[in-house]
Each structure stands twice: as structure tokens, then as C-alpha cells.
């Protein structure tokens, strides 16, 4: 089935992860991990540093290959598909990298145009330019269009990276620690921007974070990753009131 039909037919889980296992040498990072992401839902994966949160979303996007399990995105198991099919799914998934991953040798415009050109999105020069301007407007940085990444501040780089993530109008966005390394004010601005984008584009999101302010403001549901497993799930208020010491430590 074509991916567009799959997206149209998906009413509930856009991502379904079953029995995911990933190890680096003898270090088991994910061990029988299970989780669902519903359409339009914003799910935060909470866990300690090194617990495997980033590994999880890198497995979803196909940057890492797990040893076992299944990751169904729009009904297709991304672990059993061809490179072409994976690329087709990647058009529908935006990924915001922790380090922004802006290409140093390209201007902001070229950074934003890169995913469109590489995914062979057929747009006229005018349409491509309009998309770049629209993405930059969404993050309030139209004036940086011809600047190099080295000329931008940390917060601006994060916004540009977010604009690049939006350029293909994805259905799902994976955020890898979006507020890490930013000052509290910029962190708050990025959190607000994430909420605005979710509202405007009706995207489903997985947010990796341990910034509890960001978690509180963005999460419809929180999954706690502990010892490679999804330890528990719930809303912010449900988990905040939990008596379980493993859960409580994140909310104190």
C-alpha cells in the first residue's frame, strides 16, 4: 500500500513500537521497549541521561538499526523496507537534532532547500522560495535567509533547525532534547514555538527531554524510559502525583 494511503487510513497509532531491543556491545540500551504514538498526540519520552531516549528516535528514523523488534510507522515496519521506501517515510517525519545539525558550508536558505532538493520534491523555483520564507516566518527569522549558521546565536540556530524540519510539512516530528543547552528564556521560547507548530500543522510528536518545564508545556502523554523498557505512561499530572520513587524523582 502507498504511504499516502496509509497516512489517510491511519486513525489511531501513527507509530507503534513493539519489543524493541538495541545494545551497544554488552550495554543493553533498549530491552523489549513498547510504545504507541497516536495521531495528533504529543508524547514526551522521559528518562535519565544515557538511558536510550535519543537511540529510540534514531531507530524510528532509521539512523540506527535495532537487534530485534518492530517499528511500524503509518503501518509499515521501517526495519523491513527498502531504502526507497524508507526515504518516502522520512519525507513524512521531521527530525530536530539536539545539536541542530545545520550545514556549516551552506546559507540558511540552502539549509532549508536541501531536504526539498534531496527528496526530489517537485516544486517550481517560486514555490520552493515561498516554502522557505513560510518556514522562516513560522520561527520569526525571515531576515536570516542569506546568513551563514556561524552568524547565528544558539537560539536562532535551534529555530532555523526547526524551520528546516518543517519545510517538508511532516506529519510526525521527532524532537531530540529541543531545549538542551539554551538559556531558560530561549528554552521557553522554543517550547512555545513547538506548541504553536503542533497546533498549526496538527503534527504528532515524540519529544525527548528532561527539561520539566518543556515536558509540562508540550506533553499530552509522558512515557518513562527506565532500564531499556517503557516503565510507565501517563499525563503530566498523573505522573506528578505518583508515589513510585522511580517516577517521583523526575518531578521533585
Amino acid at each position: 500500500m502507498d504511504i499516502r494511503e496509509n497516512i489517510a487510513n491511519t486513525n489511531d497509532a501513527v507509530i507503534s513500537i513493539r519489543g524493541l531491543c538495541k545494545a551497544f556491545g554488552s550495554n543493553k540500551v533498549l530491552d523489549d521497549f513498547n510504545m504507541n504514538l497516536q495521531k495528533g498526540q504529543s508524547k514526551v519520552v522521559l528518562g535519565r541521561s544515557g538511558s536510550g531516549k535519543s537511540v529510540l528516535i534514531k531507530c524510528i528514523i532509521g539512523l540506527l538499526t535495532p537487534e530485534a523488534g518492530a517499528i511500524n510507522v503509518f503501518g509499515q515496519n521501517v526495519l523491513n523496507i527498502s531504502q526507497e521506501e524508507l526515504d518516502e517515510i522520512r519525507v513524512k517525519i521531521g527530525f530536530l537534532f539536539q545539536s541542530n545539525a545545520l550545514y556549516d558550508s551552506m546559507t540558511v536558505r540552502e539549509n532549508l532547500e536541501f531536504p526539498m532538493r534531496r527528496h526530489s520534491i517537485r516544486l517550481s523555483e517560486k514555490e520552493a522560495n515561498e516554502r522557505v520564507v513560510e518556514a522562516l516566518k513560522n520561527v520569526g527569522l525571515e531576515h536570516t535567509i542569506d546568513m551563514m549558521p556561524s552568524e547565528l546565536s544558539g537560539g536562532m540556530k535551534k529555530r532555523i533547525a526547526l524551520a528546516r524540519t518543517l519545510i517538508l510539512k511532516p506529519d510526525i516530528i521527532l524532537y531530540d532534547e529541543p531545549t538542551t543547552g539554551l538559556d531558560p528564556i530561549t528554552g521557553r521560547e522554543i517550547t512555545t514555538l513547538i506548541k504553536e507548530i503542533q497546533h498549526k500543522y496538527q503534527t504528532s510528536s515524540i519529544i525527548i527531554s528532561h527539561d520539566m518545564k518543556c515536558v509540562k508545556n508540550t506533553a499530552d502523554s509522558i512515557a518513562l524510559l527506565l532500564n531499556g523498557k517503557c516503565y510507565t505512561e501517563g499525563t503530566y499530572s498523573e505522573l506528578a502525583m505518583s508515589d513510585d520513587p522511580n517516577v517521583k524523582q523526575f518531578f521533585e
Binding site: G62, F97, A101
Partner: protein
């Protein structure tokens, strides 16, 4: 020292050699399959060739001039001063030109590729490329290795020419030799067996510099410290590889009767 340390070092050496061989094997598989990154290849040819131009011209000129000045006293003692152009031509075209230019190229381009790809790896730019529907090996490695392989022979030809011009000026410091006579003496002694093996080996030098620079950068780890280490080891390893390839080429051309 632990008794098993040499064994572990030997195993690490062979592990690394195996990884480089596999990385090189990917190049041949990826280079022949579409999609072809012609635009990026041309951009890399321009960057790699243009970046090295000034340095290659300067070192080539000094190489020819100094070689002539150093040879003169000995040849004067033997009464064969007139053979300076021929001796410099043989030395520059067969050996010194390709090797010195390749070493300069390794220092300039090998380190630049190692640092650039290393920095892209640790800042997740290579991952971002993959997510953007791009095969990063094809886009970054195949283009750079091919550009290095194609550009070094051109740079060596340029360096050899500039070296001979330096040698001409060197000859004319103490005596007067016309350009016509100098050129006649140079080309009288050079033939096909001098030019071709020396020219062909520069493709291998260029390939080794590009491949090792890319390998070290592409597999960079441990943050900014790792980037520095990648750039450094790219230069060291590609310089050693240049001498190893040179040694092999001399043996092969000797067996084929070119020497």
C-alpha cells in the same frame, strides 16, 4: 607493560586495516550506482584543486630552484655542469615532483577533508543528510575521493612545469643558458617510460589521500578532540601511504622494464 599488549596492538592494527579496506570497497560499489552527484563532484574538484594551487606552485618553484643550486657544485667538480637540466628533469618528473606534491596535497587536503567530515559527524550533520534522503557516503565520500584522484595528477603536472622553470632560473644564476637549449636538454633525456609511470602513480596518491581523509573524518568520534585527531591521523597515514604506494610502483615498473 602487560604481556598481551603487543598482541592487542597487532589485532587493533589489522582491525583498522580491515575497516579501511571495507570503507574503500564501498567506494567502488557506490561510485558506479546512480544517483550520481555530478554537481557536488565538480564543486569538490574546484575546491580541492583551487585550494592547493598556490601552495603547489610555490613549493614546485622552490623545489626546482633549490635542486639545481644543490646539484651544481658536485656536477662542476665532475665537469658535467651541462647535464644539470637533464638531471633535474629526471629527478623532478620521475620522483620528487609527484612525491613532494602529493605530500603537500596530503597536508592541505587530507587534513581539510578529515576535519570537515569529522566536524560534520560529531555535530550530526551527516545524520541530518541521511534523514534528508541523501546517501551521505555517496554525497560526501565518493565526490571527495574522486575529486582528489582527478585533481592531484593535474597539480603534479603543474608542479613539474613550475619546478623546471625554477631549475631554468637556477641554471641562469651562474651561467647563461637560453630557454630553447634548456628545453631541448630536458626533453632530450625524458621519454615515455619516465613520464607515464610517474603520472599514473599520482592517481593512486590522490585516491589514497582522499580515501584516508574521508575514512578518518567519516568515522570520527569523541567530539572536538576526535575531529583534531581525525585531521592529524589523516595526514600522517596518507603520507605513509604515499611512500608505500611509491615503493610498490617502483617495484612494478622495475619488473615491467620501465626503469
Amino acid at each position: 607493560m602487560k604481556p598481551d599488549k603487543p598482541a592487542k596492538q597487532l589485532q587493533a592494527f589489522f582491525d583498522e586495516a580491515g575497516r579501511i579496506a571495507r570503507f574503500t570497497g564501498w567506494y567502488f560499489r557506490q561510485a558506479i550506482r546512480p544517483r550520481y552527484e555530478f554537481k557536488e563532484l565538480i564543486r569538490q574538484c574546484f575546491i580541492i584543486g583551487y585550494q592547493s594551487l598556490g601552495l603547489v606552485v610555490l613549493t614546485g618553484f622552490i623545489m626546482g630552484l633549490v635542486l639545481t643550486m644543490q646539484l651544481r657544485p658536485t656536477l662542476v667538480d665532475y665537469g658535467v655542469e651541462s647535464q644539470i637540466p637533464a638531471m633535474v628533469a629526471i629527478a623532478v618528473v620521475r620522483e620528487i615532483g609527484p612525491v613532494i606534491t602529493a605530500l603537500i596535497f596530503a597536508g592541505k587536503i587530507g587534513s581539510s577533508i578529515g576535519a570537515e567530515l569529522g566536524s560534520m559527524r560529531v555535530t550530526e550533520q551527516i545524520d541530518a543528510m541521511e534523514v534528508s534522503g541523501t546517501n551521505p557516503y555517496k554525497y560526501l565520500v565518493v565526490t571527495r575521493v574522486t575529486a582528489a584522484t582527478l585533481m592531484l595528477p593535474i597539480l603534479v603536472l603543474l608542479s613539474d612545469t613550475i619546478s623546471l622553470y625554477g631549475a631554468y632560473l637556477g641554471v641562469n644564476i651562474k651561467t647563461v643558458t637560453s630557454p630553447d637549449l634548456f628545453i631541448w636538454q630536458v626533453f632530450d633525456v625524458l621519454d615515455f617510460t619516465d613520464l607515464m609511470p610517474a603520472f599514473i602513480k599520482t592517481f593512486f596518491f590522490g585516491f589514497a589521500v582522499g580515501m584516508i581523509g574521508c575514512y578518518k573524518g567519516y568515522n570520527s568520534t569523541k567530539g572536538t578532540e576526535g575531529v583534531g585527531r581525525s585531521a592529524n591521523s589523516a595526514v600522517v597515514l596518507s603520507s605513509v601511504m604515499i611512500f608505500i604506494i611509491d615503493l610498490l610502483v617502483v617495484q612494478v615498473t622495475d619488473i615491467m622494464g620501465f626503469n
